[in-house]
């Protein structure tokens, strides 16, 4: 990027090639989109069935009152966090490599939070009472229980969705102004309205840069606090295996871990299909892979500390819980989780593998599965066997829960596919800025 002509040419290329991704989609896109929408529709049907017949159609019962729905909730909130990390935290650290990913990562965050937000509703049973979760003045002078971690969740996830959406939108304003100049008709009007008449004047940039900095500064504590609060849904109990102080940073590390894997799952194919190889390079992926490796090590550390201190404490309940995880009804899931989360990512210590996109894609699938299993194992095993042996029981998810879990993936991918055709998937303005430095 040395000579002036090269820079000018790069500016033009960035705009045209990225915005070309928003052109008319090919058959494969429509096939993928219909598949995902179909899956999501199936989920809606299953949910409708559950509402009609009642919560008994799925496997959640005594003693395991939280099963696959809460697993999905925690899983999707976790996925969302990595997007904010790449976008906001790496911005504060002035890491240049973020510019290739951050738009897709922010979109992933918004859609993942939306998907996650569905699950407390699905799990609620009587969805029409969902508004009771929000504090509003009523005739009976009742207020919500602010001491409950479930209520903290309501505030945390709502805040996270709002701020992430605002951050995503604000970051896009200059790019939407570019996009409108390439479009005609209805799309032109849409982008014009969304870009608010942005022209990149001195005053606009001055206030914009401060706004972006503040939003990044606010989003950063959100990354840590929201998943800490979600982990406190469990840690605030007294169940062995749940009641442990490490949950907050452990879940945050796990969230970034699973979210980074999802970024890789989404961006590797997207880069190829939209011909963005020039802008999203192997170097970028290597940096993301290093984050994946580091968070995998943090998660492994947490596993070791938890089990080690359970043995150390001499508490018969703590030891019992961890032995149950390793040797009990869910032992295949436990060892599968360890394999996917702790062993497989160790391969990223090899530089050649870090730079191999096919390998990274495969690895990211393993990590996604492993992290889903981890949430499931944590949630279910502690409830299946808690203090009193008389109250022990086993939870088997039913088909309807599997269907809804799959449907959530359909919903998420459908939203992301729609995003790739509606908005610029790479931060054009930022790429120009980075190239010119």
């Amino acid at each position: 990027m040395s000579s002036a002509e090269e820079k000018v040419e790069y500016h033009r290329l960035v705009e045209e090639e990225v915005l070309a991704g928003m052109r008319k989609p090919r058959k494969a896109y429509w096939a993928a989109l219909s598949g995902c929408v179909g899956l999501a529709a199936l989920g809606a049907v299953l949910w409708g069935y559950q509402i009609k017949k009642g919560m008994g159609v799925e496997g959640i019962n005594n003693p395991v009152g939280w099963g696959s729905y809460i697993t999905n909730f925690v899983f999707w909130v976790g996925i969302a966090h990595s997007g904010t990390l790449i976008s906001a935290v790496l911005f504060l650290f002035r890491a240049k490599f973020r510019s290739a990913f951050n738009r897709s990562a922010e979109a992933m965050t918004v859609f993942a939070v939306m998907t996650a937000g569905l699950f407390p509703l699905i799990h609620l049973g009587r969805v029409w009472h969902a508004y009771w979760l929000f504090p509003y003045p009523n005739q009976r002078l009742l207020w919500v229980n602010f001491r409950s971690p479930l209520m903290w969740d309501v505030f945390a996830v709502s805040t996270y969705f709002t701020i992430s959406a605002v951050f995503f939108y604000v970051g896009m304003i200059p790019d939407l102004a570019i996009a409108k100049r390439f479009e005609t008709g209805l799309r032109k009007r849409l982008y014009s309205a969304l870009s608010l008449g942005w022209v990149g004047s001195f005053r606009q940039w001055k206030h914009y840069t401060r706004l972006y900095l503040f939003l990044a500064a606010f989003a950063t504590p959100l990354v840590v606090s929201v998943h800490s609060i979600v982990s406190w849904d469990f840690a605030m109990s007294i169940l062995p295996g749940w009641h442990t102080t490490i949950f907050a940073p452990y879940f945050v590390a796990g969230a970034i871990f699973s979210g980074t894997a999802m970024v890789i799952t989404l961006v590797v194919p997207m880069r190829k299909l939209l011909h963005l190889e020039r802008f999203i390079t192997v170097d970028h992926f290597e940096s993301i892979a290093k984050i994946l490796l580091f968070t995998s090590l943090l998660v492994t550390y947490s596993y070791v500390v938890e089990s080690g201190l359970a043995a150390y404490s001499g508490s018969v309940y703590e030891k019992g819980t961890f032995l149950y995880r390793m040797t009990g009804d869910y032992k295949y899931l436990y060892w599968g989780m360890l394999f996917c989360n702790s062993i497989v990512p160790l391969t990223l210590l090899v530089k050649r593998l870090r730079r191999n996109l096919v390998f990274l894609f495969g690895l990211s699938i393993f990590v996604n599965i492993g992290m889903w299993l981890e949430r499931f194992v944590i949630i279910v095993t502690s409830m299946a066997r808690d203090f009193d042996p008389y109250a022990w029981g086993v939870y088997k998810p039913r088909l309807i829960e599997a269907g809804i879990a799959l449907a959530s993936f359909g919903f998420f991918f459908a939203a992301f596919l729609l995003f790739t055709k509606a908005f610029p998937v790479v931060a054009v303005t930022e790429l120009k800025e980075v190239a010119d430095e």
């Binding site: 002036a4 001491r147 008449g197 005053r203 001055k206 840069t209 120009k432």
Partner: protein
């Protein structure tokens, strides 16, 4: 009359801007249009801090205060001991106040930005060529037009 200078690269743009400022053109009458924020231009034209931080700060404080005020008010309005915690359990309320602080602070920052930049601006909406977003432009308003 508005003088308009258009450049393809940041360096040429900054050279001209520097020349204009040195030649005594009043800074208030110079405006720039750039594809991305140019830090050096800000140094030359207007180093004052953006007031967005006041909106942000005010919003954050308001959110935090509202968080505590609301939770404490509601819990005193119907004092119910849950989980053996004290009626005004500040530790739990810290979480709520913290989230509200971030929510209101962030939204206030955005509102402040819209207010200060006077966006959305509907006049500009349906104009502009494709080339515009790649150029670095300087416009100078002369006295009569003010």
């Amino acid at each position: 009359m508005t003088e308009r200078y258009s450049f393809d690269t940041k360096d040429a743009f900054l050279e001209k801007l520097d020349e204009l400022v040195r030649s005594g053109v009043p800074r208030g009458s110079i405006n720039t249009f750039t594809p991305y924020p140019v830090h050096e231009a800000e140094e030359l034209l207007d180093r004052s801090e953006s007031p967005v931080r006041f909106f942000t700060g005010a919003g954050a404080v308001a959110g935090c205060v509202a968080g505590f005020a609301f939770t404490i008010y509601t819990v005193l309005s119907w004092p119910l001991v849950t989980g053996g915690k004290e009626i005004v359990s500040v530790n739990a309320f810290i979480v709520i106040a913290y989230e509200l602080m971030i929510l209101v602070g962030g939204l206030s920052a955005f509102a402040g930005f819209l207010f200060l930049t006077r966006l959305p601006v509907f006049r500009n909406i349906l104009s502009d060529s494709v080339e515009f977003s790649r150029k670095f432009e300087i416009t100078v308003e002369s006295e009569e037009r003010r």
